[in-house]
Symmetry: C2
Subunit: 499 residues, 2 copies
């Protein structure tokens, strides 16, 4: 059947066409069925949407489909109904608790990449994995399939290291220190990092205060060749592309099946060319994993899967109950990382970085973790890590001479004070994220928070608990409103309730 | 934040707005998050879509949203981020195998009706029900919630009866006979029926050959007041509206969780005002239920749920392995039903109808099923059922004087012959549907098939197995192509394989 093209001036992010109900009947297709479209020698498969208001004989294209077919307004295109892709049967098989073969997993990811599956169909896949699980073979298949959807780095000589935290801890910028220390020792560490989804800042958002983070694969190769390290935003490169698509699908229902977490992380590490991977699993109240035992189980899975994929994986289970440092938000975090490298601050983050470097050096060089820790400490205190960090900033296009004292948070700020006295019992990562985001982070680089207390500290009524920063007075007001609703700093209660 | 409205001239069937990436960051919303829109004194909640090509400060509305807000091109509307609806947490709870309360089920259906859930989120709900199941209380909650989303019929005096088949059997037009017989006995039977989704014809498609089937609730009330019966397309009335939306969502992955089947059917029967319901569960090879035992389990569930909902439900398990009659397709089926009522044809369909009437009369009048069967037979043979059927056709706006001999199938036809000899072992409902649809059914009312053989019959090579009809020569060619690929009539094999 031939249709006349009318183009809607919007990208749909998916191959969808809109036709009239009666035309759909003639084609024998219904809502969500597929049609093969032909224009000249180009072809594509699109999902059918129906409209009461479409004209008979007219087919509405969104920009994406028009570009794929090279079709213009008024062009004539052929359409015929085609069978649903086999990948839908494989999604159905997983919903029925079946075991997917390597080819079946690959078919799902291939159709995802070709935009042949709707958001609803992909959600069914995520729900299937969430409720039915994947076995080790399926996770390896999925990881390889995701890995193959993007570019990857390869290095001929020397060890390549990577690190990843499963996240959930505010101010956890340990990767920035790790890359500086490890690459200052002549070991390659090309690290991709993420932007914030629901937190105040991701490593990419924070590093962007100091230098560009959206680099091409070729630029990354050059930076690593020059400095051994890099810290770039994963979203700007074409690595493990399918994973980004899956993350978008998982967002509305916040579905995080463990198997997708495993394959997502491992596919990215493999794409970075890593042979040695250190994984950080923060656990405890408010973290993604709530106690040490399930963290151990997860760690074991990472190691097994990693081995299947040709990577040596070590895991640490860290305390994820409170922020990794007292400063939250892009500028405040960048300043604190610089301060640490400038040796004007020691603190928790430096200690964590050196402990993790100890494990990495144990893997790469076969020395003891304690020896590795001492080497890392030396790189920090001697200023070699700072020197390397400046080199990387310069190679990525930033100003290598920047000092922590150059970095200023938003000009508007307000302190938040304790309304009762007692011992600090809990500091809530999620509440911190919500307040910082209300203040404008991460888009407003100067927005954020400085914590003035830590767990275990005895405070009096009226003591300053934290200070909120923003570049915008109105947003600071929003943040303060949030602060009054949320309990960032929980003071120990002796009497929990009176009845 | 204020935006300038630009309207896209298409109905999206959902509240979706498209904004620029940077604007989304300012609003702190991501893909699939929600914004509350305000224009004058109207408000609505919409899902956010992001576009690389949207202009900063501009918001793209599809027609639906523009109408809801009464907004025009160039208008200014306010937008603010709002929390995700609580129903998403309930969907998530079901994915986690939790038990939903009555209020939680109702919240999901309410948000579905308010178009506040995306197709992907609703698919997650279907997948959750499919993988985790619903207990009896949840099914009752769901049925009531669906029932409450639409209009319903109520009758002050006398018994109200309904019937439903879970489907899958070609040519099963027994409802048309049941309505004629039962209402000829002074018992109310206001029956809604469906159009074909993947079959050659639904009861609504077949009846439409004889009279209009898209009636309003008021028209239905008048037809029933006059004749005791009606046969109308459920899609044209506002009954159990949520169910139609759920069916659309289930279509792409062909997910039919049993609990949705139960609540879908029972909500519609309740909306018809039925006190007595007879359910037909066809079973066997190619049917929706493959053997008698699971059919019995399903029947028991229908009865229990029915009782909770104030309806007496009886079930029959029928033979669903072959078509209910030899004529398939709207005109051919309508002709055969008329022939049966005109007493010029007895056959399987009449027998099934009288057996089912026996059970209905047993429920309504307390007489034995055998006595009920004899009464039904009498209504058929005396012509009283035909008279009632003509009355209903007239009341619905059709020609009451139509005769079976007035009905002609498509002018083009082709016979399909046996390529080997043997005993007929199986006649395949799905293959029949595909061939009839290729021939143009149900849009082409004259398209269809006449079967010339039945199970158990001994056939010789070259014997005519069936004839395909179409109003369009090209479509007949398509159908013949399908016929060569599919095996409608399977002949018994003595040697299954030689190795």
């Amino acid at each position: 059947m031939d249709f006349k093209v009318k183009i809607i001036d919007v990208e749909a992010g998916l191959n969808v066409v809109v036709i009239d109900n009666d035309d759909a009947k003639k084609l024998d297709v219904g809502l969500g069925d597929r049609v093969k479209l032909k224009s000249g020698n180009r072809e594509t498969v699109a999902l059918v949407d129906l409209a009461r208001d479409a004209k008979v004989g007219e087919i509405l294209f969104f920009k994406d489909t028009a570009e794929k077919l090279g079709a213009k307004n008024g062009d004539s295109v052929g359409a015929e109904s085609v069978k649903r892709p086999a990948s839908l049967d494989f999604i159905r098989k997983k919903l029925d608790a079946g075991i997917l073969s390597d080819a079946e997993v690959k078919a799902i990811i291939t159709d995802l990449m070709n935009e042949e599956l709707s958001a609803a169909e992909l959600t069914a896949f995520i729900a299937a994995v969430y409720t039915r699980g994947l076995n080790s073979e399926e996770v390896v298949s999925l990881t390889n399939a995701i890995y193959e959807t993007g570019d990857h780095l390869e290095f001929k000589n020397g060890a390549v290291v990577s690190e990843h935290s499963i996240g959930g801890v505010a101010g956890d910028r340990v990767s920035m220190l790790l890359v500086a220390i490890i690459s200052s020792l002549g070991i390659k560490m090309p690290k991709t990092c993420t932007r914030a989804i629901s937190s105040a800042s991701g490593t990419a958002d924070t590093l962007e205060v100091l230098c560009p983070v959206s680099l091409s694969m070729d630029e990354i190769r050059k930076v690593v060749a020059k400095t051994n390290g890099c810290l770039v935003w994963g979203g700007a490169v074409n690595m493990a592309v399918a994973d980004d698509k899956l993350i978008k699908i998982r967002h509305p229902l916040r579905l995080d099946p463990e198997e997708l977490l495993l394959s997502s992380i491992l596919a990215k590490k493999k794409a970075e060319g890593a042979q040695f991977v250190l994984l950080d699993i923060p656990c405890g109240r408010g973290a993604k994993v709530d106690s040490v035992e399930p963290a151990r189980v997860l760690a074991h899975k990472f190691q097994t899967m990693g081995a299947h994929l040709g990577m040596q994986v070590e895991c640490i289970v860290s305390d994820g109950t409170e922020p990794a440092m007292s400063f939250i938000g892009p500028v405040l975090e960048a300043r604190q990382v610089l301060r640490t490298l400038e040796c004007s601050s020691s603190g928790l983050l430096a200690e964590k970085a050196c402990l993790m470097c100890g494990i990495i050096l144990h893997m790469v060089r076969g020395i003891s973790k304690e020896e590795g820790y001492r080497i890392a400490r030396h790189q920090l205190s001697s200023g070699k890590a700072l020197e390397k960090f400046r080199e990387i900033i310069k190679a990525q296009g930033g100003n290598p001479n920047i000092k922590s004292s150059d970095l200023k948070p938003g000009e508007f700020s307000v302190p938040v004070k304790a309304v009762s006295e007692g011992r600090v019992d809990h500091i809530d990562n999620k509440a911190i994220s919500r307040i910082c985001r209300a203040a404008g982070a991460p888009a407003d680089k100067g927005a954020g928070m400085e914590l003035k207390v830590c767990i275990g500290q005895q405070i009096t009524e009226g003591a300053e608990l934290y200070e909120i920063f923003s570049s915008n007075k109105e947003r600071l007001g929003f943040a303060l409103k949030q602060a009054k609703l949320l309990n960032v700093v929980e003071v120990e209660k002796i009497i929990l309730d009176t009845i």
